[in-house]
C-alpha cells in the first residue's frame, strides 16, 4: 500500500489558463470541494430526503516569500490584485511528485495575506475559489 507525505505535493498555476508552471517554495495547499444538498422530502414523510446540488471548491496555498520576480510564482502571489479577473487562471494541485495525481480547475484568488513575523520565515497565504469544473485526477 502506498502512502504519501505532504512534501510530495506541489502547486502549478498559470494566470493565462494554458499550461501550469510550478510555484516555487510552496509550503502547503488545501482544497475543500463542497456539494450543496437540496431537500426533496415529501410532505408527510418520516425521513428527510436530499439530492446533490451545485458543486464548488475553495482552498488555500501557502508560499514562502523568496523575492522571485520573473516567474509565475510572482504572478501567483500578486494575482489577487488583478483588476479584471475572469476566473480563467489554471490551478493544478498535485499529490505526488510524479505529477500524475492532481486536482485541476480554473479559479479566482480571493485573498492574499502577506505576513512577516520576527524570527520566522515570511509566508504568503493565498485563498481561492474554483470557477467551473473541478477535475479530480487522483
Amino acid at each position: 500500500m502506498a502512502f504519501y507525505r505532504g512534501q510530495q505535493g506541489s502547486v502549478k498555476f498559470d494566470d493565462a489558463g494554458a499550461t501550469g508552471v510550478t510555484i516555487t517554495s510552496t509550503r502547503s495547499w488545501s482544497l475543500t470541494v463542497e456539494k450543496e444538498s437540496l431537500d426533496t422530502t415529501a410532505l408527510g414523510a418520516t425521513y428527510r430526503a436530499n439530492v446533490g446540488g451545485l458543486i464548488s471548491g475553495s482552498g488555500t496555498v501557502e508560499v514562502l516569500y523568496t523575492a522571485s520576480s520573473a516567474d509565475e510564482t510572482n504572478v501567483f502571489i500578486e494575482h489577487v490584485n488583478t483588476a479584471t479577473d475572469e476566473g480563467l487562471a489554471l490551478f493544478e494541485l498535485f499529490l505526488d511528485t510524479t505529477g500524475t495525481k492532481k486536482i485541476s480547475f480554473d479559479g479566482v484568488i480571493t485573498s492574499a495575506e502577506y505576513s512577516a513575523t520576527v524570527g520566522e520565515i515570511e509566508v504568503i497565504t493565498l485563498n481561492f475559489v474554483t470557477n467551473g469544473d473541478i477535475t479530480l485526477g487522483i
Binding site: 505532504g6 512534501q7 510530495q8 505535493g9 506541489s10 502547486v11 510550478t22 516555487t24 517554495s25 510552496t26 509550503r27 502547503s28 495547499w29 514562502l64 511528485t97 524570527g119 520565515i121
Partner: protein, 141 residues
C-alpha cells in the same frame, strides 16, 4: 542548487570568530576537536558548533525543494580567576556583537544568550561565562 555543505557553514561561523579575536587585543580561540593547553592566568575562548534539527521548508522531492538547517553555537569565555568579571564580559560583548542578528553567507544568526556565568568552570582555575546562540541556514536542492 545542491545539498548544503556543512563545512562551509562551519567555516563561515568559525572564521568570523577567528578573524575578530585575531584583532587587538588578541584572544586565543580553540574549536571542536582541537588540542589545546591553556596558558594559566590568561584569557581564551572555546567555540563549539553543532548542527541540530533539519526541517522541511517547501514541497518537492530531491530537486526544486528547500530544507531548513538549524544549529547551535556555544562559546565558552575563560578569563583569569579572582579579578572580577569585567575582562570576561568585554570578550563576551565582542562575541555577542559579532553574531547578533547577522546574516552572513546565507547563515542567519539569532540573538545570543549570555554571557552566562558558569558555576563550575572547566578547566578549573578560570572565570568562565558562556555565550550561546542558534543559527539557521537554508538548503536548496
Amino acid at each position: 542548487m545542491a545539498a548544503v555543505n556543512l563545512n562551509t557553514i562551519r567555516s563561515t561561523i568559525e572564521g568570523r570568530l577567528a578573524t575578530e579575536l585575531a584583532l587587538s587585543p588578541v584572544i586565543p580561540v580553540v574549536f571542536h576537536n582541537q588540542p589545546s593547553t591553556p596558558t594559566p592566568n590568561s584569557s581564551f575562548v572555546q567555540c563549539l558548533v553543532s548542527f541540530g534539527n533539519n526541517n522541511f521548508l517547501t514541497m518537492g522531492g530531491t530537486t526544486g525543494s528547500s530544507n531548513s538547517v538549524i544549529g547551535v553555537i556555544v562559546m565558552n569565555v575563560f578569563t583569569p580567576k579572582g579579578v572580577g568579571p569585567g575582562a570576561n564580559l568585554t570578550i563576551g560583548k565582542r562575541i555577542r556583537d559579532l553574531y547578533n542578528r547577522q546574516v552572513v553567507s546565507g547563515v542567519h544568526f539569532d540573538p545570543p544568550t549570555g554571557p552566562e556565568v558558569v558555576a563550575s568552570p572547566a578547566p578549573e582555575g578560570y572565570f568562565q561565562t558562556q555565550v550561546r546562540l542558534t543559527f539557521e541556514t537554508f538548503e536548496d536542492l
